[in-house]
Symmetry: C2
Subunit: 221 residues, 2 copies
């Protein structure tokens, strides 16, 4: 078996596990969002703000993927929601079977939710190909990472239904060509949405909450 055969086999097994997850999420009418970005783009901070703002109205939960440390799940739990850390060891992405295992290990705590956020391992490349049974992928890009990233990592920007620009409060301090980034994202994904946000100032967060509400309403219609 060649390297490519093995990769195909792994992806096929993942697809099967993801389909089973998706059926379960449909039955429990849980909206599932898979968040993907570089390390340090601000995924966890974005989720912390989201949870702080929405937890009074919606039942929320999180699954956090990392190579090492329980830090991110701890950060979400501190906001009073159930969260499970998946430690991947050396692996550079989450797969559907790990998500299945995390749901089982939480013994129901992540099963009766309105929205489940899955924060993937910090990596713009490898998580792109692993379906986790989510309703949609979100790619996050911080304005401190430079304005050439969508074209340098085209796969995830093409696949994610939503691109979230983070840390826009830092725009005055960095060289970042915002119109160029908007153009790159629009080129890669004409149907996709783009939000410009700061979890620090709250800029753009209301649009994100409206998008979540509307996706949840659609799932339950």
């Amino acid at each position: 078996m060649t390297q490519i055969d093995v990769k195909q086999k792994v992806l096929a097994a993942n697809m099967e596990a993801a389909a089973a997850l998706r059926a379960g999420f449909a039955a429990s009418r849980t909206l599932v969002v898979n968040l993907i970005s570089s390390p340090g783009s601000g995924k966890t901070t974005f989720l912390e703000r989201t949870v702080a703002d929405l937890k009074g109205r919606l039942r929320l939960g999180g699954i956090e993927g990392d190579i090492a440390t329980e830090r991110d799940a701890d950060r979400l739990r501190r906001h009073g929601i159930p969260a499970r850390q998946i430690l991947t060891g050396g692996s550079c992405h989450l797969d559907a079977r790990q998500v299945r295992q995390a749901l089982d290990d939480e013994d129901g705590a992540l099963s009766a939710l309105d929205i489940l956020f899955i924060e993937n391992v910090g990596n713009l490349i490898c998580p792109t190909n692993y379906d986790l049974g989510e309703d949609f992928k979100v790619v996050l890009l911080s304005v401190t990472e430079g304005d050439d990233k969508p074209f340098k990592y085209p796969a995830i920007f093409s696949k994610a239904a939503l691109a979230v620009l983070t840390k826009v409060d830092l725009l005055p301090h960095v060289d970042f060509d915002l119109p160029a980034v908007r153009d790159q994202i629009r080129t890669l994904n004409p149907e996709g949405r783009l939000l410009e946000t700061s979890a620090k100032t709250g800029a753009g967060m209301e649009s994100w909450y409206e998008l979540l509400s509307s996706a949840l309403a659609k799932k339950r219609a």
Copy 2:
């Protein structure tokens, strides 16, 4: 053959190719540095500043790894040094055979250098295990990425002889616990060096040049 067997086989083949590269670099007495970081940590900007400051004194060249676009090699060539872009397609790291091919394709232009910089694909995880025949690895971390990264990505911080903190000019605008990061890096790699730099202001760059000079002198002793 299982997935793990295939991975071992791939790594063994890479190790063999890397050993051949290393022998070649020893013969040409070229110092080779493998730079690894998240997307957007500022690897290319750090190299541009380095090239601008050192090109009068040393023969420099670059190999740039990316999923897509020739942007990074173009940025180095604009400074008047030879540079080769490797487009990995979907692959999340460079391997030694790609480096061999890039050297061959440049037809000698990258063979009579004092220092060859290899800028890996933007990824803190996968490039860690692929030896490229380098003298040492450098891991770069920007202060905008947050102060929890070394413990979240321990492998690369343990393996890199040098950790470079980039964008320290932005420290006043971000929450970043610098002493905590110093401690994490020291814990993971007690023998390693840490430099705190800004390619924008030039802070810390002289120490980097001294480190390069001394490594080059040692290689040629």
